[in-house]
Each structure stands twice: as structure tokens, then as C-alpha cells.
């Protein structure tokens, strides 16, 4: 009978592997959740005006980390356009570790879904925000507290099941 043991063990393993496919190992709870948005002071991609988290105080705002060299950002772009259509949501883009002209060209080519785009060639803001891949997206409530972090491109499904309800809920909250 011992000869059936490998088969039984294998099917047990298979069950876990199948379950594993639906789990996302990179979905780590970010330590930033429920914390104030990390500070930054960055220039706009287009002019000399400077922005920081305080610039968006009182708004529900979305902070999307992107770059022109990032393939997945192209995939994500249509979803950002949809988010842009939401009334009262401030869209902030962080052009991460990029070249000024490349970033501008990218937005010209695909369209600019952001209300504000800040530029960080060094990527140090990304480090403070715990960014380890591009794209990543954060959502802040009206008090400037980080309420959600998304790693990787936002899919259509993520948009409908997670982001839209969350944004609606945050917009209903008091400042």
C-alpha cells in the first residue's frame, strides 16, 4: 500500500498549488496603511510649481507611481483614464526615475489622466513610499491618511470591485 502514498501526497500538494494561483503573494499589507501620507516636495513635470501631500488636503486623492520605461503602465493606462472621470477624485501622478522629456512624451502619446504630475528623477520619494515596482497606486482620504495600496497595474476588475467602492466610501467620509 505504501506505493499509493506518493500519489496521495501529490494530490494534497496539488490542492495547495491550485489555491495558491488565486492568492497574491506580493499582496503584503503596507505599513503605510492608516498612516499619514509620507511627505515629499517635488516639482511638477511641466513647470516649476512645487507640490506635497498638503497640496491635496481635504480631497480624496489617488497617487499613481508610473514611468515611461514601464510596460505595465501602458496596460494600466485605460483604467487610469476611467478613474479620471470620477467626480471629485484628485489624480496625482508620480513620474518615477524617469527622464523629463520621456515622461512628457509618454503622457502626450497616451493621454494625461492626472490633475497633477510630479517628477522625481532620483526615485527617493518612491523609497519613502515603499515603492518596489512600478506601477503602484495609493489612495488617501480627506485627512491625508493612506487607506489603500495597490501593487502592479490596476485591472478592470480591481477598479470595479475594490477601487470604485472604496473611493465612494472615502468621499462620503468627513474631512
Amino acid at each position: 500500500m505504501w506505493k499509493y502514498i506518493p500519489l496521495v501526497l501529490f494530490f494534497g500538494l496539488l490542492g495547495f498549488l491550485a489555491r495558491g494561483l488565486d492568492l497574491d503573494p506580493s499582496e503584503l499589507p503596507s505599513p503605510l496603511i492608516e498612516q499619514a501620507a509620507p511627505d515629499f516636495k517635488l516639482q511638477s513635470l511641466y513647470d516649476a510649481s512645487e507640490y506635497g501631500p498638503e497640496s491635496f488636503a481635504g480631497d480624496v486623492w489617488l497617487f499613481n507611481v508610473w514611468a515611461s520605461w514601464c510596460r505595465a503602465c501602458i496596460t494600466e493606462h485605460p483604467v487610469l483614464e476611467q478613474l479620471d472621470d470620477i467626480e471629485g477624485l484628485t489624480m496625482v501622478g508620480l513620474n518615477h526615475k524617469d527622464v523629463l522629456d520621456d515622461g512628457r512624451t509618454w503622457l502626450n502619446r497616451f493621454g494625461n489622466p492626472f490633475d497633477t504630475v510630479v517628477f522625481d528623477q532620483q526615485g527617493s520619494t518612491g523609497i519613502n513610499w515603499g515603492v518596489y515596482g512600478v506601477p503602484e497606486t495609493f489612495i488617501m482620504d480627506k485627512k491625508g491618511t493612506v487607506r489603500y495600496k495597490h501593487i502592479g497595474p490596476i485591472s478592470e476588475e480591481d477598479l470595479n470591485t475594490i477601487l470604485l467602492p472604496l473611493i465612494k466610501q472615502l468621499q462620503a467620509e468627513q474631512a
Binding site: F10, F11, G20, P25, W69
Partner: protein, 665 residues
Amino acid sequence: MIAELGQFALILALCAAVVLAVLPFVGSFIVQPQWMALARPAALLQLLMMTISYFALTSTFITNDFSVLYTANTSNSQLPLIYKISGVWGGHEGSILLWVWVLAIWTGAVAIFSKHMPAILLSRVLSILGMISIGFMLFVLITSNPFERIFPVPVDGASLNPLLQDIGMAAHPPLLYMGYVGFSVAFAFAIAALLGGELDSATLRWMRPWTNIAWMFLTLGIALGSYWAYYELGWGGWWFWDPVENASFMPWLLGTALIHSLAASEKRGIFKAWTVLLAVLAFSLSLLGTFIVRSGVLTSVHSFAADPARGRFILFFLAIVVGLSLLLFAIRAHKLKSHANFELISRESALLLNNILLLVACAAVLLGTLYPLFLDALDMGKISVGPQYFNTVFAPLMLPVIMVVGIGALLNWKKDKLKGRQTTLLALIVLSLIAGAVFAMQFNPYKITAAAAIGLAIWVVASSAYGVYYRLRNKRNRLSAAMHTPAAFWGMTIAHIGMGVFTLGVALTSMFADEQTVRMGVGETHEIAGYEFRFDRIEDVRGANYIATQATFVVTKEQSAVSTLVAEKRIYNVRRDTMTEAGIDGGLTRDLFIALGEHLGEGQWSVRLQYKPFIRWIWFGTVFMALGGLLAAVDRRYRVAATTQKRAEAATKAKAVSAAAGAAS
């Protein structure tokens, strides 16, 4: 055009694989020699088509054809030619295509080097390989087509990850795949044996060289990956117990067990069911490794794009292949009778111990690798299993293996009283320990554990060398006897000595390595392990497709110059990735290692200095092991056996002819 040609060739290869998987297989059961005779041409046609397909993809890289999506994502016109060629396996689609091509190469090789294999066995083995091909070709065509076009055509490609723009990394995947996929041959033999209900020593003799060659490639592939991680990732470590590393290491552990149990099965007719199980499991773990790497179920430093559809396909395939194989094993393994018996002190016992320990070690690695997944699946939280677990569990399991590796090789089969060898072995143990104790004085501070580890390494080498002496002890002309000793014996001895060399490297590196991260400006010096590092200058340089900040350090020891090290921080043009190129002064007894960190302002840099004693011995050891595997595979006896069989066949034929002639007259 070329891309379409590649895809068309891939589809034709799939057709060849279907023919290969069906006709010879069915033919072997209903005894249809014509159907079985299709196995060899179908395997060769599959190889030809896969080769065309693979070269078609390569040509889109070389000609910068960015209308092919995969090429646009992975290559770039600025990329040096060598990395355009190796870039073909730099992404998911291409690397799976390489996987299939390598499988076709192994299948073709079996078809070519099997002139004297019984037709039924050969057709089944090739058919089983064909079935595996079908699965992976469908995987490429359905979920990972590298020939897909993109419109509008991008002006230039997104370029290859700079981490992969390196010679070591270029060679790592093909070697690894040759090993991984090579175990499919042993697997196919094992399944054929289960189907036929017998595993005779002729079949086992066929299996051994194939397994040895696959194991050799896997050894080299893993070692090269480890070496690459050492000099390219800039951390100075050589093994990280990362899921993707483990994925290649587990088949290696079982492959090592398989090589040894094959020896026992062939020579003594024992452990047959066990050997078959190991062959099935070694290849299953290769498939599992492919699944782990390609599905993204585990996080790893090797960040491959995770795609659930791909994961599901491989999992489904894994379930069919491994599930059916293990079912077949459960039903049929009782047919594989082992005859001989053996006593406690015998070579069989040593091989059994080796097998059990390697299997348990493999299970421990598997458990540690999948543990985060188990917990996550049961909603018990997210954890990661670190090197502490693996080192704690793995080292004690390997220790007895290392201790007996030399003795096992000089034990007799069946029953051994160690007559005449006890005193010598005892003396060797004592001398090894003394030598270890003396040698350990080289290092500061003096550590008993270091003395023991060095003693152990010396013991492995000494007992293996004694094995050679013991074999030749009664020969009158030792030189000529040594010349006539089979290559397999030398292969075994060299591989075992490699184990000792490896042990020494691991022990000394882990015990005496020194590393410090310091703040340094130009002109400043820092001392580590007796070496003085002076930050000589910093400058900007331009490479083929990157710009770099280059820091030069001058190293001296007791006022005499040792070397000049250059560490770089590169920024690649296309993807803007920053890369650290460590400055390494490699040596037989130590490596000096410098990685340039962040610029801290005002001319100050964060610099990581490392001193790694005997770290190269780790890779020397693996090269010895691989060389041993190669020698064992090319042993004359495998060819002699074929020739003998040929002669026997000719004799039978001649007899039949004369009988027919006799009958006619």
C-alpha cells in the same frame, strides 16, 4: 515573415510530437513494427522543426524586428549582439520556447544514440517524451506565443533587464534547462519500465549515462546561477534559498539520489521500485519548479511576470503527468521485483543511507519553499521562510552524507567486514582531524568548529583517494591498472572529492567572511581582514548601452600592493535601471569584494567591503562534481555493452540465416 515561419515550424513540431506520442506508443502494445519504426524519424522531425522555430525567434532579435511583441518587450537595438542572442530566453515566452527546444534536443539525442535499444522500449521512451512535448508546445501556442505581432510597431524595443546582460546569466538558463529537461529521459525510461512491468539491467544501463549527463548540466547550471548571484547582485552571497533557486536545487538532490540508486539497481538488482520512483519524482520536481517559476505563486527575487492562465495550464499539465505517473507507479511497481539481499555493512547500505538522507533533505527544502503558500492558502497569515530554517535543517542532514561519502565508495557489495581497512580508515580519520586542527590556525579567531569542518573536508578527499589506492592495491603494475580503471570509477572519485572541496569552501566562507558597510570619500582608507582599501578616484564612464559612475580602489596588505578594484554603478539608457557592478579580486584562498552604494553627498559614498575566504572553492567543488558526472557518463562499458549487444544480434541473425538455409536445403 520570419516570425510566421517560426510559428508554423512550431505547429509542425507539434504535429510531429503528436505522431510520436501516438503511433509508436500504440504500436508497441499491438506489436506493429512499422508504427514503432516511426518513433525515430518523428523525433528527428520534431527536433528539426523546433530548431527552425527557435532560430526564427532568434533572428527577430538579431534583426531588431520589433513588430514581434516579445522581441519588442525584451530586446532593443542598442543591445550588444551577444545579449540579443541570449535575450531570446530573457523573458517568459522565449524561455519556454527554449525549454521545448531543449526537450526536442534530448528526444532527438535518444533517437540517435539508441541504435541497439530493443524496439518496444525505444518506441515507448520516445513516445513518452513526445507526450511531454505536446504539453509544452500547447503551452507555448495557447498561453505564451513568442511570435505574436504588435501594431503599431514600436520604434525601438523595451530592452533586456540589465541584470540579465551578463555572460554568466546568458549561459545559466540553457544549462539549467539541459539539466531539468534531461531528467525527462530517465522519467521516460521509468514509465516505460512500469508499463512493461520489468526493469532489467540492460534498461538500467541505458538510463545511467543519460541521467549522469542531465545531472552534470544541472550541477553546472545551478553553480553558474550561484556564481552570477555572487558577482552580479552585489550582495556577496552565493546562495539565498530563494524559491526559484530551490526549484532547481530540489531536482538536483533527487537526481543525485537517482544516480546512486541506479548504480545499486543495475549492479545488484535491488531498489528497483525505488529507482523508478526517484526518476518520476526528479522530473516531477522539474515540472513543479517550472510551475513555481512561471506562475508567481511564490515571491522571489526572480520577479517573473505572473499570469494565472499560464499557472493554471502548467498546474493542469502537472496534475496529468505526475498524477498518472504516480498512479501507474502505485499499480505496477510490485512487478519490479528486487532480488538480492545485503547486510548492514555493505555498499548497498551506504547507498540506501545516501538516498534516504537526500530524499529527506529534498522534502525539507520543499516544505520550506512551499510553507508560505500553505499558510496563505489556509488563511493563517503571510510569512516568509528565511535562510535560518534552511541552514538549520539542511546542514545536519547533509553532514552524515559528507561523512560517509568516501567510505561508501570503498565498501564491497552485499557484505563487507572492512577487513584490512579498519586501521587505515581510523588512521585517516585521526590524521584528517589533526590536519584540520593545524590548518584552522590560519584563521583568526581559532574555532573548533572550523577545525572540525576542515578536518571533515580533508577526510572526504583522503577517504576517496584511499578508495583509489584500495582498488589498485593488489595490481602489480599500478600505473597500467590505473590506466585501465573505468572512467566511471574516476568520475565517482572526482565527484566525491568535489564534495569535499565544496564543503571546505562553504565552511570557511560562512565562518570567516568579514563585511562592513562604511562611509568613504576619495583618498580615505579602510582596513578589513588585514587588507587596506584606499578610495583612489571616482569618474563617469560611458559603456555600450549605459553610463556609469566608476570608483577605483587600491588594495594593499602590509604596504605591498595587492590589486586595484573597480566598482561601478550603472544606469542603463533604455530602462533607466540602476545596476551595481561589484569590484572583485578573486583568488584561490580569498576574494575581496567592493560594491559602491549610494552617494551620501559632499564626495562621500556608502561602500560595502567584503572579505570572503575560500569562496571560490564552492564553485571549484561543483565543477569537480560536474566533471565526475561527465566521466561517469562516458564510461566505455556503456558503449561496450552496446557493441556486445550488436554482436549478439549479429550472431542471432547469422544463426537464423543458417537455420533458414539449413531448412531450405
